[in-house]
Every structure is written in structure tokens, then in C-alpha cells.
């Protein structure tokens, strides 16, 4: 097997607050192959965004700090790099697309100026060359009449177009890895679908790996090869997208899947929308065991005492990992019989 593009080992991140340290990420480990699309799902505060921002030194420090782990990108440990070396990777080999295109573009700079920046920094293009490439990039993300729009400001673009500009910036230096952090969350549904389709198309053209962070399982299903479910700064389940959807092994994943509205249309299939009871744990005082146990109807006493390791799920597709002491399919079958 070839070396992975990204190898995250036991990453832990905490934020110091007046009320004590908030343990936002608690030992996250996974790998990403070249060209793979990984969907990371979880609710707010699950550590899904923070852990990728932390890898690249993008969390404010202080109060944030990385309390442990390694992040190997093409064999180099990002956490050990100096700020200057990280700058070369950010926007170059690793591109970013952020949530909320309204606030993620600088209101005081033209779109051209913002796209040109990484081109000049990472590719060393001169002003004219960078501008020509900026125009090509706007074409690439299907913004009509690109040449005329280069000198416009972000407020002259619609929400969807701004997100396209963000994607153009993220892809500008032909990254090996594109990290999209809630890239479609602030957009309305039809625009979301357009953006997802665009990213899939660009991926086929450019072949980069993608980490797609979202709380929307529907988007993940459409775009990812692999899905990873995070909760309270831990990975609870991870595996090939079809297998996760067809055969969830963690109760939290199941809860998320049941929370999806069923639009199949048949009257019989309609049901009240499921909701996961309770609230996420206080990240300052995490329970000793499985963080989801207090909200989990299937939790065993062992769940409350000891964190289960992330390991291959029995009888599931290879690479389908789960952190659970209980056997979900068996419990579900028993429930169905009753």
C-alpha cells in the first residue's frame, strides 16, 4: 500500500477558558489517500472543523493549543513545522473553502486581488500572469463573464457566486488536498446542490483529495468515498459511505441517519422526524467513557466507564470502523422482534 497523503495520529486540541480547559479534540486518528473524498459529519462542537484548522495552525493560539499528536502530510509532521513553512503549505498544497461566503471574503478587496494572492505567493506568478490565471479560475468555477467580474468586490456577487469564488481561491494553486469546512451550509438548497455538483466535477478534472466537513449527511452521501462521524472531539464511526448508510454500527450514526427526513413519498414510509435526546456533553468535564453514552438508549455500563477503541466492525465491509461496546445490528434485530 502506498503512503497516505494525510496521516492524522492521535490529534488532541484544547482551548483554555476561564472555566477550565475545553477539550475540543480528543485523540483523533485517520488517514486519507490521494484523491480520496472524506466526509466528516458531526454536530456543532464535535471538533470536526477545529481539528483541521488546528493542523494548519489556523486556530487562535492562545487560547487554543494542540495538546498532542502528529499530523503527517506527505510524510512531514505539520505540527512540528514553523509558521513560515506552514504558510507555504496553506493555500498551496492544501486549499481551503470556508463556511459563509458572505464573511469569508475580504469586503475591501476586489475578487481579483483575493484570487491573485495565493498565485503570487505559492506559484510565484507575476502580476499579469496571476491575473490571467485568476480569470481562468473564475471560468473554471463557472462564473459567467469572468474577465469583467475580476475587478468587482465581493458584495457585487450573489451568495452562490461568492462560494464559487472561495472554491476558485481554494483550488488556485492546484492543491493535493482541498478542505471544505461547511462549504454549503450558508447556501440555500438549490445553490447547495450546484456547488456540490461543481466540486465533484472539479475533482474529476483535477483529482485532488477532499475533506468535506458538514453536519449534513445528505451532502456527504452525494460526495464522499468515506464517511467519518465525529462526536465530542472523537471519531465514533468511519467507513465506506454506502456501508455506513446501510449498516450503521454506532448509535449516534444511527440517530443522525434517522434524523434525515424521508422524502421517499409513500405514505406508509412517513414518520415523525427522529430527534436525538439530550445535549452534547460539557467539553470541560467529559465523561470517562463513551461521550455519547449519556444520550444513548443502547449504552451498556461499560460504555459509561471506558471509551471503546475504534476498531473493525464485525461482519461489516473492510475499513468500516466503529467505537462501540455494544453490537448495534443485534440490538436492533431484538428490538424489531419485540
Amino acid at each position: 500500500m502506498t503512503k497516505p497523503l494525510l496521516d492524522v495520529r492521535d490529534l488532541a486540541v484544547a482551548f483554555d477558558t476561564d472555566g477550565g480547559a475545553v477539550h475540543a479534540v480528543n485523540g483523533v486518528s485517520y488517514t486519507l489517500r490521494e484523491g480520496e473524498t472524506l466526509g466528516i459529519v458531526g454536530e456543532s462542537g464535535s471538533g470536526k472543523s477545529v481539528h483541521v484548522l488546528a493542523m494548519l495552525g489556523l486556530i487562535p493560539r492562545p487560547p487554543g493549543r494542540i495538546t498532542g499528536g502528529q499530523v503527517l502530510f506527505e510524510g512531514r509532521d505539520l505540527l512540528a513545522l514553523k509558521e513560515r513553512e506552514l504558510q507555504k503549505i496553506r493555500g498551496g498544497a492544501i486549499g481551503f473553502v470556508f463556511q459563509d461566503p458572505m464573511s469569508s471574503l475580504n469586503p475591501g478587496m476586489t475578487v481579483a486581488a483575493q484570487i491573485v494572492e495565493p498565485l503570487r505567493i505559492h506559484l510565484g506568478l507575476d502580476a499579469r500572469g496571476a491575473r490571467a490565471r485568476a480569470k481562468d479560475l473564475l471560468d473554471l468555477v463557472r462564473i459567467p463573464n469572468a474577465a469583467a467580474r475580476l475587478d468587482q468586490y465581493p458584495h457585487e456577487f450573489s451568495g452562490g457566486q461568492r462560494q464559487r469564488v472561495m472554491i476558485a481561491i481554494g483550488l488556485s494553486c492546484r492543491p493535493k488536498l482541498l478542505i471544505a469546512d461547511e462549504a454549503t451550509t450558508a447556501l440555500d438548497v438549490t445553490v447547495q446542490a450546484e456547488i456540490v455538483a461543481l466540486v465533484q466535477e472539479l475533482k474529476r478534472e483535477l483529482g485532488m483529495a477532499i475533506i468535506w466537513i458538514t453536519h449534513d449527511l445528505g451532502v456527504v452521501a452525494g460526495i464522499s468515498d468515506t464517511v467519518q462521524v465525529m462526536y465530542a472531539g472523537r471519531i465514533l464511526e468511519r467507513g465506506p459511505v454506502d456501508d455506513i448508510f446501510a449498516d450503521p454500527r454506532n448509535a449516534y450514526t444511527l440517530g443522525l441517519l434517522r434524523s434525515l427526513p424521508d422524502l421517499s413519498g409513500s405514505r406508509a414510509g412517513r414518520r415523525r422526524l427522529h430527534q436525538i435526546e439530550g445535549a452534547p456533553p460539557d467539553m470541560r468535564h467529559l465523561p470517562p467513557g463513551d461521550p455519547f453514552a449519556p444520550r444513548n438508549a443502547f449504552a451498556t455500563p461499560r460504555c459509561r466507564a471506558e471509551m471503546p477503541p475504534l476498531s473493525q466492525a464485525h461482519g461489516a465491509a473492510p475499513g468500516h470502523l466503529v467505537a462501540a461496546w455494544y453490537d448495534l445490528p443485534k440490538l436492533l434485530a431484538a428490538e424489531a422482534v419485540r
Binding site: L58, K88, G91, G92, F96, F98, S104, Q114, E117, P118
Partner: protein, 314 residues
């Protein structure tokens, strides 16, 4: 942009009229008039009556306002009865002094306040931030006249480097002019720098936490460029607005500082005029200051529009 300018200029007219009415009316609240001030101790009723008639002081208030406003429209601000000179001449005489002092003070304020504010925002919570805040607190707390006197003691009396007071026109000798202006400019600028620093820091903190600053960092932009190119222009609007207001204040004359350093500017002219009930001069200076304020605010808005493209359409 032209429409924006035209509309703002049209709005300035009623503001000026209102300002002139208020100052005209307020002066009537002061006891005594120029006639009593001119006649001094003797108070000869005949002389007083004569002066009152000559200068229309016996007419009703609206009529007198009419006389004066009519003059202003023709470019005639009236005469200073005390100095027997046209007010416009007095203003032309004193304005360059105050203008120079204001510009130098503003330069001092910007040169100290903005970099210090930026630095303390970037180094938030670190030693540099604490030191900068300490300096700002000091700058805000020190009274101008006291700092002025201390500076004179040190640089003029002890070291003999700078003249203690007086004013030399820059057209006579630029070096002597600057030597005379540097201390008053520093004293005035110092207090503004402190306010400027606090505002710059607050604005920068807001902007540095914004999503687009994170985007810039995620693009691999260096911290220096993030601060100066991405953050500072977006933090500039409150700084520009504050700068314009402070500059207007400076132009209306720095009474105490001008007194301490014997700078013959607007502040001194105004104080003398008020004490002598020299209403024409007071009115002239106030209307001039009001016009300057309006012009500065307009300039600040134009500058903000230049910095923030979103404002250009408003």
C-alpha cells in the same frame, strides 16, 4: 460618487445656518455687550448709546441676525469692534497658525496612535499590549497644560534645545517654526494618540477575528501582510471618523495649549473675543469652525468610501 458629494454638500447648508443661529442666540445670554466692554470703567450712557446705535445693537435680535447673515453671504464677516479690523482679516491671520499646529498634532497622533493600536491588537494579551495600554492610559490622564509646562522645563529651561514660547512663520524660517511648534504639537497629539490607540486596537481586534482574515491566513499570506493589507484597511473607518472629529476640535483652537506656549492661534483669538464681548469675532470664528467641521466630516466620509467599496453607493 458625484451625486453622493452633491447630496452631502446640500445637507451642509442647513447645518451651517442652524449653527450660526444657535451661536448668535447663545451670545445674547452673556451679560453685557461690546458697548459696555468698550467704555470700560466710565460707563458714560451717551457713549454707550452711541456705540449701540452705530453697531445696530439697539435693534431686535432677528434684525441683527439679518444684518450679520446678509454680510456673511456677501463674504463679509463684520468688523471686530475691539480691534477695529475686519473679522475675516483676523481669521486669515490666525488660521494658518492653528492649521499648522493641528496638522502637526494630528501627525503626531497618527504616528503614535495607529501603530501602537495595531501592535497591541496583534499582540493581544502579551507584554506589548500591556505596555501600549499603559502608555495610552498615561496619555489620556496627563493634563495638556501640565505636560506642556514639564516639556518647557525640560527642553527649554534645562536643556535649552527648544524655545519656550513664541511663533515664527514657516516662511521666515522653517526650522525655527518647527522648533517652536514641536512641543505644542506633541502635547496636543499625545492626548489624541491615546484615544486613537484605543480605537485602533478595538477595531483591529474585531477585524483580526473575522472570517476573511482566517481566509487570508489559509491562503498562506504572511502575518505582516494579513495585518496591513487585509485587516488594517477594514479597521480604518472608525479611525478615519475619529481622526476627522479630533482634527475639527484641533482647528477650533487649543485654548490651554496655545496659552501655555503663547501660540497666536484660533484658541487665543476666541478667548479674547469672548471676554471682550467681541461678538462679530466670535461669530466669525464659530461659523468658520463649523464649516471646517462639516468639510472634515465630508472628507472622512469620502475617505471611508475609498477604503470600503460598499459605502460608495450609499
Amino acid at each position: 460618487m458625484l451625486r453622493f458629494l452633491a447630496r452631502r454638500l446640500a445637507l451642509a447648508v442647513p447645518t451651517l445656518i442652524l449653527a450660526s443661529m444657535i451661536i448668535f442666540a447663545l451670545q445674547q445670554l452673556l451679560p453685557g455687550d461690546v458697548a459696555t466692554a468698550l467704555t470700560g470703567e466710565e460707563r458714560d450712557p451717551q457713549v454707550i448709546a452711541f456705540i449701540r446705535e452705530k453697531y445696530h445693537l439697539d435693534e431686535p435680535l432677528p434684525v441683527r441676525y439679518g444684518y450679520w447673515a446678509g454680510g456673511v453671504l456677501r463674504g463679509d464677516l463684520g468688523d471686530s469692534i475691539r480691534l477695529q479690523k475686519p473679522v475675516s482679516e483676523l481669521i486669515v491671520e490666525k488660521l494658518p497658525v492653528t492649521l499648522e499646529l493641528a496638522c502637526l498634532a494630528m501627525l503626531v497622533a497618527l504616528a503614535i496612535g495607529v501603530p501602537m493600536g495595531v501592535l497591541s491588537a496583534v499582540k493581544r494579551g502579551q507584554t506589548a499590549d500591556t505596555v501600549a495600554n499603559g502608555i495610552a492610559l498615561w496619555g489620556l490622564s496627563v493634563p495638556n497644560f501640565w505636560l506642556g509646562i514639564l516639556l518647557i522645563l525640560l527642553f527649554s529651561v534645562e536643556l535649552g534645545w527648544l524655545p519656550a514660547s513664541g511663533y515664527v512663520s514657516p516662511f521666515e524660517s522653517l526650522s525655527e517654526n518647527l522648533a517652536a511648534m514641536v512641543m505644542p504639537a506633541f502635547v496636543l497629539g499625545n492626548a489624541i494618540a491615546a484615544v486613537m490607540m484605543r480605537h485602533t486596537r478595538a477595531a483591529m481586534l474585531g477585524v483580526l477575528g473575522s472570517d476573511y482574515v482566517r481566509t487570508a491566513r489559509a491562503k498562506g499570506v504572511s502575518p505582516l501582510r494579513v495585518t496591513l493589507r487585509h485587516a488594517l484597511p477594514n479597521a480604518a473607518i472608525p479611525i478615519i471618523t475619529l481622526g476627522a472629529l479630533e482634527f475639527g476640535q484641533l482647528l477650533s483652537g487649543a485654548v490651554l495649549t496655545e496659552q501655555v506656549f503663547s501660540v497666536p492661534g484660533f484658541g487665543k483669538l476666541m478667548v479674547d473675543a469672548v471676554f471682550n464681548r467681541d461678538f462679530a469675532t466670535v461669530q466669525g470664528v464659530v461659523i468658520c469652525t463649523a464649516a471646517t467641521y462639516i468639510a472634515l466630516n465630508l472628507a472622512a466620509d469620502l475617505l471611508s468610501a475609498a477604503v470600503n467599496p460598499k459605502l460608495r453607493r450609499a
